[in-house]
Symmetry: C2
Subunit: 225 residues, 2 copies
Protein backbone atom coordinates (compact mmCIF):
# COMPACT_ATOMS: atom_id res chain seq x y z
CA UNK A 1 0.00 0.00 0.00
CA UNK A 2 2.66 2.47 -1.06
CA UNK A 3 1.09 5.92 -1.10
CA UNK A 4 0.87 7.71 -4.41
CA UNK A 5 2.87 10.88 -4.33
CA UNK A 6 1.43 13.86 -6.08
CA UNK A 7 -0.35 17.13 -5.62
CA UNK A 8 2.84 18.99 -5.23
CA UNK A 9 1.84 22.58 -4.92
CA UNK A 10 -1.90 22.13 -4.52
CA UNK A 11 -3.07 24.20 -7.44
CA UNK A 12 -6.51 22.89 -8.17
CA UNK A 13 -9.59 25.02 -8.83
CA UNK A 14 -8.29 26.83 -11.89
CA UNK A 15 -11.80 28.01 -12.77
CA UNK A 16 -12.33 30.25 -9.75
CA UNK A 17 -10.56 33.17 -11.34
CA UNK A 18 -8.52 35.13 -8.79
CA UNK A 19 -7.70 37.92 -11.24
CA UNK A 20 -7.28 40.84 -8.93
CA UNK A 21 -3.62 41.45 -9.76
CA UNK A 22 -2.85 42.05 -13.44
CA UNK A 23 0.26 40.07 -14.49
CA UNK A 24 1.83 40.26 -11.08
CA UNK A 25 2.85 36.89 -9.59
CA UNK A 26 2.89 33.49 -11.24
CA UNK A 27 -0.33 32.19 -12.69
CA UNK A 28 -1.51 28.72 -11.59
CA UNK A 29 -0.44 27.18 -14.96
CA UNK A 30 -3.01 24.64 -16.06
CA UNK A 31 -1.76 21.10 -15.94
CA UNK A 32 -2.87 18.01 -17.80
CA UNK A 33 -3.31 14.59 -16.25
CA UNK A 34 -0.15 13.44 -17.98
CA UNK A 35 1.77 16.16 -16.17
CA UNK A 36 0.46 15.07 -12.78
CA UNK A 37 1.56 11.55 -13.55
CA UNK A 38 5.02 12.73 -14.52
CA UNK A 39 5.31 14.65 -11.27
CA UNK A 40 4.44 11.55 -9.32
CA UNK A 41 6.94 9.51 -11.34
CA UNK A 42 9.63 12.08 -10.71
CA UNK A 43 8.94 12.26 -7.00
CA UNK A 44 9.00 8.51 -6.47
CA UNK A 45 12.18 8.30 -8.52
CA UNK A 46 13.67 11.13 -6.49
CA UNK A 47 12.70 9.34 -3.29
CA UNK A 48 14.52 6.21 -4.42
CA UNK A 49 17.69 8.02 -5.47
CA UNK A 50 17.75 10.26 -2.39
CA UNK A 51 17.37 7.22 -0.18
CA UNK A 52 20.24 5.48 -1.94
CA UNK A 53 22.72 8.32 -2.20
CA UNK A 54 21.56 11.13 0.05
CA UNK A 55 20.67 14.60 -1.11
CA UNK A 56 24.06 16.00 -2.03
CA UNK A 57 25.27 13.00 -4.01
CA UNK A 58 22.19 12.58 -6.18
CA UNK A 59 22.22 14.39 -9.50
CA UNK A 60 19.13 15.74 -11.16
CA UNK A 61 20.06 13.74 -14.23
CA UNK A 62 20.00 10.58 -12.14
CA UNK A 63 16.50 11.39 -10.94
CA UNK A 64 15.33 12.07 -14.47
CA UNK A 65 16.93 8.86 -15.74
CA UNK A 66 15.36 6.82 -12.92
CA UNK A 67 11.98 8.26 -13.83
CA UNK A 68 12.59 7.50 -17.50
CA UNK A 69 12.43 11.15 -18.41
CA UNK A 70 14.78 13.70 -19.92
CA UNK A 71 16.44 16.33 -17.72
CA UNK A 72 14.55 19.01 -19.60
CA UNK A 73 11.23 17.47 -18.69
CA UNK A 74 12.21 17.35 -15.04
CA UNK A 75 12.82 21.08 -15.08
CA UNK A 76 9.42 21.68 -16.57
CA UNK A 77 7.86 20.64 -13.27
CA UNK A 78 10.48 21.68 -10.74
CA UNK A 79 12.41 24.92 -10.82
CA UNK A 80 15.52 23.36 -9.29
CA UNK A 81 16.92 20.45 -7.33
CA UNK A 82 15.92 21.91 -3.98
CA UNK A 83 12.31 22.10 -5.05
CA UNK A 84 12.25 18.35 -5.69
CA UNK A 85 13.50 17.62 -2.21
CA UNK A 86 11.15 20.22 -0.79
CA UNK A 87 8.13 18.66 -2.50
CA UNK A 88 9.07 15.28 -1.10
CA UNK A 89 9.73 16.78 2.31
CA UNK A 90 6.35 18.48 2.35
CA UNK A 91 4.65 15.20 1.66
CA UNK A 92 6.67 13.49 4.36
CA UNK A 93 6.07 16.24 6.90
CA UNK A 94 2.32 16.21 6.29
CA UNK A 95 2.15 12.43 6.55
CA UNK A 96 4.15 12.32 9.74
CA UNK A 97 2.10 15.10 11.22
CA UNK A 98 -0.98 12.94 10.82
CA UNK A 99 0.71 9.84 12.18
CA UNK A 100 2.02 11.71 15.20
CA UNK A 101 -1.27 13.40 16.00
CA UNK A 102 -2.61 10.66 18.34
CA UNK A 103 0.04 11.57 20.88
CA UNK A 104 -1.80 14.74 21.73
CA UNK A 105 -5.23 13.28 22.40
CA UNK A 106 -4.84 10.59 25.02
CA UNK A 107 -6.95 10.05 28.11
CA UNK A 108 -4.51 9.05 30.84
CA UNK A 109 -7.32 7.56 32.90
CA UNK A 110 -8.39 5.13 30.18
CA UNK A 111 -5.14 4.38 28.38
CA UNK A 112 -1.74 3.49 29.78
CA UNK A 113 1.44 4.94 28.36
CA UNK A 114 2.33 1.46 27.19
CA UNK A 115 -0.86 1.19 25.18
CA UNK A 116 -0.54 4.68 23.76
CA UNK A 117 3.02 4.13 22.57
CA UNK A 118 2.38 0.62 21.32
CA UNK A 119 -0.48 1.81 19.15
CA UNK A 120 1.32 4.78 17.64
CA UNK A 121 4.75 3.32 16.95
CA UNK A 122 3.71 0.67 14.44
CA UNK A 123 2.29 2.95 11.71
CA UNK A 124 5.16 5.39 12.05
CA UNK A 125 7.71 2.63 11.59
CA UNK A 126 5.79 1.30 8.61
CA UNK A 127 5.76 4.74 7.04
CA UNK A 128 9.50 5.15 7.38
CA UNK A 129 10.14 1.73 5.93
CA UNK A 130 8.01 2.59 2.92
CA UNK A 131 9.62 6.01 2.51
CA UNK A 132 13.30 5.66 3.36
CA UNK A 133 14.08 8.99 1.72
CA UNK A 134 12.27 10.65 4.61
CA UNK A 135 15.10 9.69 6.94
CA UNK A 136 17.70 10.57 4.33
CA UNK A 137 16.30 14.08 3.98
CA UNK A 138 15.22 14.80 7.55
CA UNK A 139 17.67 12.95 9.76
CA UNK A 140 20.80 12.86 7.64
CA UNK A 141 21.47 16.57 8.09
CA UNK A 142 22.71 19.00 5.46
CA UNK A 143 19.48 19.12 3.58
CA UNK A 144 18.80 22.18 1.42
CA UNK A 145 17.31 25.23 3.04
CA UNK A 146 13.72 24.69 2.07
CA UNK A 147 13.71 21.18 3.47
CA UNK A 148 14.90 22.42 6.82
CA UNK A 149 12.07 24.96 6.78
CA UNK A 150 9.71 22.00 6.86
CA UNK A 151 11.71 19.75 9.14
CA UNK A 152 12.27 22.20 11.95
CA UNK A 153 8.57 22.95 12.60
CA UNK A 154 7.73 19.26 12.35
CA UNK A 155 10.32 18.48 14.99
CA UNK A 156 9.10 21.33 17.14
CA UNK A 157 5.51 20.06 16.94
CA UNK A 158 6.64 16.52 17.69
CA UNK A 159 8.57 17.76 20.68
CA UNK A 160 5.51 19.61 21.94
CA UNK A 161 3.35 16.53 21.55
CA UNK A 162 5.75 14.33 23.45
CA UNK A 163 5.97 16.93 26.18
CA UNK A 164 2.17 17.21 26.30
CA UNK A 165 1.91 13.46 26.59
CA UNK A 166 4.42 13.46 29.41
CA UNK A 167 2.58 16.27 31.13
CA UNK A 168 -0.54 14.13 31.18
CA UNK A 169 1.20 11.30 32.94
CA UNK A 170 3.72 13.23 35.01
CA UNK A 171 2.18 16.60 35.60
CA UNK A 172 3.86 16.95 38.95
CA UNK A 173 7.32 17.31 37.43
CA UNK A 174 8.61 20.78 36.61
CA UNK A 175 8.00 21.87 33.02
CA UNK A 176 11.71 22.36 32.47
CA UNK A 177 12.38 18.73 33.24
CA UNK A 178 9.62 17.59 30.92
CA UNK A 179 11.06 19.76 28.18
CA UNK A 180 14.43 18.08 28.56
CA UNK A 181 12.81 14.65 28.71
CA UNK A 182 10.84 15.27 25.53
CA UNK A 183 14.01 16.33 23.74
CA UNK A 184 15.85 13.22 24.90
CA UNK A 185 12.97 10.95 23.93
CA UNK A 186 12.75 12.54 20.50
CA UNK A 187 16.49 12.21 19.98
CA UNK A 188 16.47 8.57 20.98
CA UNK A 189 13.52 7.90 18.72
CA UNK A 190 15.32 9.49 15.78
CA UNK A 191 18.44 7.54 16.54
CA UNK A 192 16.62 4.25 16.51
CA UNK A 193 14.66 4.86 13.32
CA UNK A 194 17.49 3.92 10.94
CA UNK A 195 17.66 0.58 12.70
CA UNK A 196 13.98 -0.02 12.08
CA UNK A 197 14.18 1.05 8.46
CA UNK A 198 17.12 -1.16 7.58
CA UNK A 199 16.10 -4.19 9.62
CA UNK A 200 14.80 -7.28 7.80
CA UNK A 201 11.05 -7.54 7.77
CA UNK A 202 10.86 -10.36 10.31
CA UNK A 203 12.73 -8.34 12.93
CA UNK A 204 10.59 -5.24 12.71
CA UNK A 205 8.00 -6.40 15.21
CA UNK A 206 10.50 -7.31 17.89
CA UNK A 207 12.50 -4.14 17.29
CA UNK A 208 9.41 -1.98 17.56
CA UNK A 209 8.66 -3.54 20.93
CA UNK A 210 12.19 -2.83 22.05
CA UNK A 211 11.84 0.80 21.06
CA UNK A 212 8.58 1.01 22.95
CA UNK A 213 10.36 -0.41 25.98
CA UNK A 214 13.17 2.06 25.55
CA UNK A 215 10.78 4.99 25.79
CA UNK A 216 8.65 3.39 28.47
CA UNK A 217 11.66 2.59 30.59
CA UNK A 218 12.78 6.18 30.42
CA UNK A 219 9.33 7.49 31.25
CA UNK A 220 9.01 5.07 34.15
CA UNK A 221 12.23 6.42 35.53
CA UNK A 222 10.92 9.93 35.20
CA UNK A 223 7.79 9.08 37.16
CA UNK A 224 9.35 6.98 39.92
CA UNK A 225 12.99 7.80 40.54
Amino acid sequence: MRPTIGKVTAETAPETAPQSRPVDAERPKRRQARGERRIAQLLTAAGQVFAESGYAATTTNAIAARAGVSPGSLYQYFPNKDAIAAALAEYYADSLDVLLAPFAVVDPAAVTLEQALGASLGPIVEFHRENPACLALFIGGNAPGHVMDLQAPLMARTHQRIQALLTLYAGNLPAERLDLAAAVALGAYKGVLPLLVEAPQEQVGALTLEVRDLLLGYFDRLLAP
Copy 2:
Protein backbone atom coordinates in the same frame (compact mmCIF):
# COMPACT_ATOMS: atom_id res chain seq x y z
CA MET B 1 42.05 21.05 26.69
CA ARG B 2 41.50 20.57 22.99
CA PRO B 3 43.66 17.66 21.84
CA THR B 4 46.34 18.36 19.27
CA ILE B 5 45.68 16.49 16.11
CA GLY B 6 48.65 15.06 14.33
CA LYS B 7 50.62 11.91 13.63
CA VAL B 8 48.44 11.04 10.72
CA THR B 9 49.99 7.96 9.28
CA ALA B 10 52.37 7.06 12.08
CA GLU B 11 55.61 7.14 10.16
CA THR B 12 58.24 7.67 12.80
CA ALA B 13 61.54 5.81 13.09
CA PRO B 14 62.91 6.64 9.65
CA GLU B 15 66.41 5.51 10.57
CA THR B 16 65.62 1.83 11.10
CA ALA B 17 66.11 1.00 7.43
CA PRO B 18 63.55 -1.56 6.19
CA GLN B 19 65.24 -1.93 2.79
CA SER B 20 64.24 -5.43 1.80
CA ARG B 21 62.30 -4.40 -1.32
CA PRO B 22 64.22 -2.30 -3.88
CA VAL B 23 62.09 0.63 -5.07
CA ASP B 24 58.83 -1.17 -4.53
CA ALA B 25 56.24 0.68 -2.47
CA GLU B 26 56.27 4.27 -1.22
CA ARG B 27 59.16 5.33 0.93
CA PRO B 28 58.32 6.96 4.27
CA LYS B 29 59.15 10.43 2.90
CA ARG B 30 61.05 12.38 5.48
CA ARG B 31 59.08 15.22 6.97
CA GLN B 32 60.19 18.38 8.71
CA ALA B 33 58.68 19.72 11.89
CA ARG B 34 57.05 22.48 9.89
CA GLY B 35 55.22 19.86 7.84
CA GLU B 36 53.85 18.14 10.92
CA ARG B 37 52.56 21.46 12.14
CA ARG B 38 50.87 22.12 8.81
CA ILE B 39 49.17 18.74 8.94
CA ALA B 40 47.80 19.52 12.38
CA GLN B 41 46.63 22.94 11.19
CA LEU B 42 44.92 21.40 8.19
CA LEU B 43 43.21 18.71 10.23
CA THR B 44 41.84 21.09 12.83
CA ALA B 45 40.67 23.41 10.05
CA ALA B 46 39.07 20.47 8.29
CA GLY B 47 37.33 19.48 11.49
CA GLN B 48 35.84 22.93 11.83
CA VAL B 49 34.61 23.13 8.26
CA PHE B 50 33.27 19.57 8.21
CA ALA B 51 31.38 20.27 11.42
CA GLU B 52 29.85 23.41 9.92
CA SER B 53 28.96 22.17 6.45
CA GLY B 54 29.18 18.38 6.42
CA TYR B 55 31.50 16.38 4.25
CA ALA B 56 29.93 16.82 0.83
CA ALA B 57 29.43 20.57 1.07
CA THR B 58 32.92 21.46 2.24
CA THR B 59 35.43 22.29 -0.42
CA THR B 60 39.10 21.55 -0.15
CA ASN B 61 39.76 25.20 -0.89
CA ALA B 62 37.66 26.14 2.12
CA ILE B 63 39.75 23.86 4.32
CA ALA B 64 42.96 25.31 2.96
CA ALA B 65 41.68 28.86 3.44
CA ARG B 66 40.59 28.12 7.00
CA ALA B 67 44.04 26.77 7.74
CA GLY B 68 45.63 29.85 6.16
CA VAL B 69 47.29 27.75 3.49
CA SER B 70 47.16 27.51 -0.28
CA PRO B 71 45.27 24.63 -1.95
CA GLY B 72 48.54 23.38 -3.38
CA SER B 73 50.02 23.02 0.09
CA LEU B 74 47.02 21.02 1.21
CA TYR B 75 47.63 18.51 -1.55
CA GLN B 76 51.23 18.15 -0.53
CA TYR B 77 50.11 16.37 2.61
CA PHE B 78 46.88 14.70 1.56
CA PRO B 79 46.36 12.90 -1.75
CA ASN B 80 42.69 13.85 -1.96
CA LYS B 81 39.68 15.09 -0.06
CA ASP B 82 38.74 11.63 1.20
CA ALA B 83 42.13 11.23 2.81
CA ILE B 84 41.56 14.34 4.92
CA ALA B 85 38.29 12.98 6.24
CA ALA B 86 39.87 9.57 6.72
CA ALA B 87 42.73 11.00 8.76
CA LEU B 88 40.26 12.82 10.98
CA ALA B 89 38.08 9.74 11.22
CA GLU B 90 41.02 7.59 12.24
CA TYR B 91 41.83 9.97 15.05
CA TYR B 92 38.21 10.05 16.15
CA ALA B 93 37.81 6.28 15.98
CA ASP B 94 40.95 5.69 18.01
CA SER B 95 39.92 8.24 20.64
CA LEU B 96 36.42 6.84 20.97
CA ASP B 97 37.77 3.34 21.17
CA VAL B 98 39.72 4.35 24.25
CA LEU B 99 36.81 6.21 25.80
CA LEU B 100 34.48 3.28 25.26
CA ALA B 101 36.88 0.69 26.58
CA PRO B 102 35.70 0.87 30.25
CA PHE B 103 32.40 -0.70 29.22
CA ALA B 104 34.07 -4.04 28.76
CA VAL B 105 35.82 -4.30 32.11
CA VAL B 106 33.21 -3.86 34.82
CA ASP B 107 32.73 -5.94 37.91
CA PRO B 108 28.96 -6.29 38.34
CA ALA B 109 29.38 -7.23 41.98
CA ALA B 110 31.21 -4.04 42.87
CA VAL B 111 29.70 -1.50 40.49
CA THR B 112 26.09 -0.84 39.61
CA LEU B 113 25.00 -0.16 36.06
CA GLU B 114 24.15 3.34 37.15
CA GLN B 115 27.68 3.97 38.34
CA ALA B 116 29.24 2.38 35.27
CA LEU B 117 27.19 4.48 32.86
CA GLY B 118 27.50 7.64 34.89
CA ALA B 119 31.27 7.40 34.88
CA SER B 120 31.64 6.64 31.18
CA LEU B 121 29.15 9.05 29.67
CA GLY B 122 30.77 12.28 30.79
CA PRO B 123 34.09 11.94 28.96
CA ILE B 124 32.41 10.71 25.81
CA VAL B 125 30.09 13.69 25.76
CA GLU B 126 32.99 16.02 26.38
CA PHE B 127 34.90 14.50 23.48
CA HIS B 128 32.03 14.98 21.08
CA ARG B 129 31.53 18.55 22.16
CA GLU B 130 35.21 19.24 21.53
CA ASN B 131 35.17 17.46 18.18
CA PRO B 132 31.82 18.12 16.55
CA ALA B 133 33.13 16.94 13.19
CA CYS B 134 33.14 13.42 14.62
CA LEU B 135 29.35 13.41 14.58
CA ALA B 136 29.26 15.09 11.17
CA LEU B 137 31.44 12.39 9.65
CA PHE B 138 30.26 9.31 11.53
CA ILE B 139 26.58 9.92 12.20
CA GLY B 140 25.54 12.15 9.35
CA GLY B 141 25.77 9.37 6.77
CA ASN B 142 27.11 9.65 3.23
CA ALA B 143 30.70 9.81 4.29
CA PRO B 144 33.34 8.75 1.78
CA GLY B 145 34.26 5.11 1.54
CA HIS B 146 37.38 5.17 3.65
CA VAL B 147 35.59 6.85 6.54
CA MET B 148 32.95 4.15 6.59
CA ASP B 149 35.74 1.58 6.70
CA LEU B 150 36.66 3.06 10.06
CA GLN B 151 33.19 3.80 11.33
CA ALA B 152 31.67 0.38 10.76
CA PRO B 153 34.21 -1.55 12.88
CA LEU B 154 34.01 1.09 15.61
CA MET B 155 30.25 0.69 15.74
CA ALA B 156 30.58 -3.07 15.73
CA ARG B 157 33.01 -2.95 18.64
CA THR B 158 30.79 -0.55 20.54
CA HIS B 159 27.84 -2.84 19.97
CA GLN B 160 29.83 -5.78 21.31
CA ARG B 161 30.86 -3.84 24.38
CA ILE B 162 27.32 -2.81 25.18
CA GLN B 163 26.17 -6.36 24.70
CA ALA B 164 28.98 -7.63 26.91
CA LEU B 165 27.99 -5.15 29.59
CA LEU B 166 24.39 -6.25 29.36
CA THR B 167 25.42 -9.88 29.53
CA LEU B 168 27.16 -9.19 32.84
CA TYR B 169 24.03 -7.76 34.37
CA ALA B 170 21.39 -9.80 32.58
CA GLY B 171 23.08 -13.07 31.72
CA ASN B 172 19.84 -14.96 32.03
CA LEU B 173 18.32 -13.36 28.95
CA PRO B 174 18.80 -15.07 25.56
CA ALA B 175 21.76 -13.75 23.56
CA GLU B 176 19.47 -12.80 20.69
CA ARG B 177 17.54 -10.45 22.93
CA LEU B 178 20.71 -8.86 24.24
CA ASP B 179 21.90 -8.35 20.69
CA LEU B 180 18.73 -6.48 19.87
CA ALA B 181 18.93 -4.49 23.07
CA ALA B 182 22.51 -3.47 22.42
CA ALA B 183 21.56 -2.28 18.94
CA VAL B 184 18.65 -0.25 20.31
CA ALA B 185 20.77 1.27 23.06
CA LEU B 186 23.48 2.19 20.58
CA GLY B 187 20.95 3.76 18.23
CA ALA B 188 19.37 5.77 21.01
CA TYR B 189 22.78 6.91 22.17
CA LYS B 190 23.69 8.07 18.68
CA GLY B 191 20.39 9.85 18.34
CA VAL B 192 20.88 11.80 21.54
CA LEU B 193 24.46 12.82 20.86
CA PRO B 194 23.59 15.76 18.58
CA LEU B 195 21.50 17.15 21.41
CA LEU B 196 24.44 16.99 23.77
CA VAL B 197 26.81 18.54 21.28
CA GLU B 198 24.58 21.48 20.44
CA ALA B 199 23.28 22.15 23.94
CA PRO B 200 24.56 25.20 25.81
CA GLN B 201 27.29 24.42 28.30
CA GLU B 202 25.11 24.83 31.38
CA GLN B 203 22.65 22.20 30.19
CA VAL B 204 25.17 19.50 29.45
CA GLY B 205 25.24 18.11 32.95
CA ALA B 206 21.50 17.73 33.24
CA LEU B 207 21.24 16.33 29.73
CA THR B 208 23.94 13.77 30.40
CA LEU B 209 22.01 12.60 33.44
CA GLU B 210 18.88 12.30 31.34
CA VAL B 211 20.71 10.19 28.81
CA ARG B 212 22.02 7.99 31.57
CA ASP B 213 18.44 7.59 32.80
CA LEU B 214 17.28 6.78 29.30
CA LEU B 215 19.66 3.86 29.03
CA LEU B 216 19.17 2.79 32.65
CA GLY B 217 15.43 2.83 32.28
CA TYR B 218 15.66 0.62 29.25
CA PHE B 219 18.04 -1.78 30.94
CA ASP B 220 15.85 -1.91 34.04
CA ARG B 221 12.98 -2.92 31.85
CA LEU B 222 15.07 -5.64 30.30
CA LEU B 223 15.95 -7.06 33.71
CA ALA B 224 12.53 -6.84 35.35
CA PRO B 225 9.66 -6.87 32.89
